[in-house]
Symmetry: C2
Subunit: 365 residues, 2 copies
DNA sequence: AGTCATCCGGTAAACGTTTGCACCGCTCCG
DNA sequence: CGGAGCGGTGCAAACGTTTACCGGATGACT
């Protein structure tokens, strides 16, 4: 009956041999059963499953990975987890990964391009099967270095060449056009845009989508209404203040991300202006916080769960041959979520401190 | 010269044999060198390091884990990553883990206790060395089942018995007393508290810390000012509305978490009351969003980075014998962060819709 | 009935490390 | 001068899987 030497192993977790022994089959059969590969006699299979169940066996993923060369681990590189843009992305990534039998490994660059190298290094040591790079502002030279690695990589927007690389496209235009249209329908003709730092690919994309939308809808854009921000709260505050000081502020302000929009809200609050009565504000990203601002922020949303899903699927498609009928399509939409920061334009232009709403300026503590 | 069969391995990543061969030593020596275990002749060691460097070798963590039985992987179980409480915790956990040479694996329960089982399952399959359970509202029976596992576990607040378990204590009282004192110094005598759901351990802790602080500072608490919330925005809104409707609202409101406080802010905004002129509001947790509300929220902070650091260290202390001089102390402080939602109490009681600030009610969209 | 193809299950060799054990040469001491 | 002790190194056996390969049984066809 073979294998007499292992017996009464007390407290250690059961291994494949224990299962094989209990089911009176060889370990090969157990392996084939749990991987449902090739054909195993249904009666044997049943014995095996039963044995697995009674022993509470679960395969050792490291041994598996070691011999098969596939770890079923997916890497996710992000900028910084405390940036409210990312948690939802991570959640989506994890959900879809787990759905497909993968575990995930997260690493953050903290916006420092040189840390990307370490992230990749850690991922490689853990032998991930593929990596999704979802960080802001990835640089071209860095891409080339990434290209050396022999694992599938997926990016957003940017499209490096190479058979192991995939790109997820984002249709910024769709949602931004909806936003501009929304404002136009409300009656706004003076619409401003505060962009992100223009060295960022995604910021440029958003800005040009805005310009295109303005053009196609047939509005006129005063160049002074197009300002460059930096995707921070403070940036939003100072740019909005500048617009107010100019004396020729637009009646509606769109921004390249929600942080900037919240900055705008703060600036308006300080200037004693009301939203949406005096100004309409639209953010971008529809970060969780957007629901909680005062007033809740109208924002253009790119589904981060969808983005994450695409990323996982793109990697999976590299790793597991798909049926020929399957046509991958990695593209995510954007769309407008209307909340309470947008409304009809004010009848007469807002003038700072005209006191028409009688509020004293907020006290400085 | 041995090992002639491996040669010209072209594109595969170098393994320990390649290093050994290049350094003209055995693989055992290479292993001992990189783990700096036992004593290796410095000259050999140097040859080894050089070989490692020229080949760009990095050890295969799975093979390592397989034979050593230690994966250098730490599990982290949280409630939900999109809850703004967690990202900072995760960040801290990761930082300290990486500092100590560990990687982390995250899993979320989504507040469903039954999912805890799956989380643990996944962790065990990946053979984590230890797990930190940082989820809200863990149930006693679940703890007992966790106890079956043979890996170190660390918890917050709750203290299961067992040699493999550690607990991190949180000193809620310190920060909450600071908060009450802050309000008292400003002149508030009517201070209310909106608790979390009282079946949660941490919510009870916070409430009793508040009661103790009120007592020790010598204030009187009207029982109507002590309300149970549910840690959600909506809960905060409705409880605050109830307080306003009662006609005997406190002049300052403390809450058991920031979400509730933001709800309070919303309710006050709708009721046309001003913060901090009419009411002072203090949150708990000091979540990132608290900086961005209107006005920025005064809040009691428990350092989540510190909490995370304690968790990692507690696990490490279980896994790696520490020098006897080392005395572990897993306790984290709370403290008050003052922003702009607190100020002097209003001279005369606020009355809804008395129009004294002339604002029209916010339009419903 | 004999031969061949087919199918399924078992045996054993990997995968890349760590580590117990044995060995070798040196030093030190009797 | 010989033996004991020891520091340093190599050999080989694990760790728990997957999978190529082989061999035995079974059914079909001539």
């Amino acid at each position: 009956m073979g294998r007499a030497k292992r017996k009464a192993k007390a407290s250690t977790r059961p291994d494949i041999h224990a299962v094989a022994h209990l089911a009176r089959v060889s370990i090969a059969t157990v392996s084939r059963t749990i991987n449902n590969v090739a054909t195993v006699d249904p009666r044997l299979a049943q014995r095996v499953w039963k044995a697995i169940d009674t022993l509470g066996y679960s395969p050792n993923s490291q041994a598996r990975a070691l011999v098969s060369g596939r770890s079923r681990l997916l890497g996710l590189i992000i900028s910084e987890i405390t940036n409210p843009f990312f948690p939802e992305l991570i959640q989506g990534f994890e959900d879809v990964a787990v759905e497909n039998g993968y575990e995930i490994l997260i690493s953050s660059t903290n916006y420092e391009p040189q840390r990307m190298e370490q992230c990749i290094q850690r991922m490689l040591e853990r032998k991930v099967d593929g990596v999704a790079v979802m960080t802001f502002g990835i640089e071209e030279p860095l891409l080339d270095r990434l290209a050396q690695r022999e694992i599938p990589l997926v990016f957003v927007d940017v499209a490096p060449k190479g058979p192991l690389f995939s790109t997820i496209e984002v249709d910024y235009y769709h949602g931004i056009r909806e936003a501009v249209q929304h404002l136009a329908v409300l009656g706004h003709r003076r619409i401003g845009f505060i962009s992100g730092p223009l060295h960022l690919h995604s910021a440029r994309e958003r800005q040009s989508a805005f310009l295109r939308a303005i053009g196609e809808i047939g509005l006129k854009l005063n160049p002074a209404w197009l300002q460059e921000g930096d995707h921070t709260l403070e940036g939003g505050i100072s740019v909005m203040q500048k617009l107010l000081d100019s004396g020729d502020a637009p009646t509606a302000i769109m921004t390249s991300n929600d942080m900037t929009a919240i900055g705008v809200l703060h600036a308006l609050y300080k200037a004693d202006a009301r939203v949406p009565e005096d100004f309409s504000v639209i953010g971008f990203d529809d970060v969780t916080i957007a629901q909680f601002t005062l007033p809740p922020l109208t924002s253009v949303q790119m589904s981060r769960r969808e983005l994450a899903r695409c990323a996982v699927l793109a990697l999976r498609d590299h790793l597991e041959p798909q049926p020929s009928s399957y046509v991958p399509r990695y593209k995510v939409q954007t769309k407008l979520t209307v909340r309470q920061s947008t409304g009809l334009p004010s009848a007469r232009p807002f003038r700072r401190g005209n006191g028409r709403n009688g509020r004293k300026p907020a006290p400085q503590s």
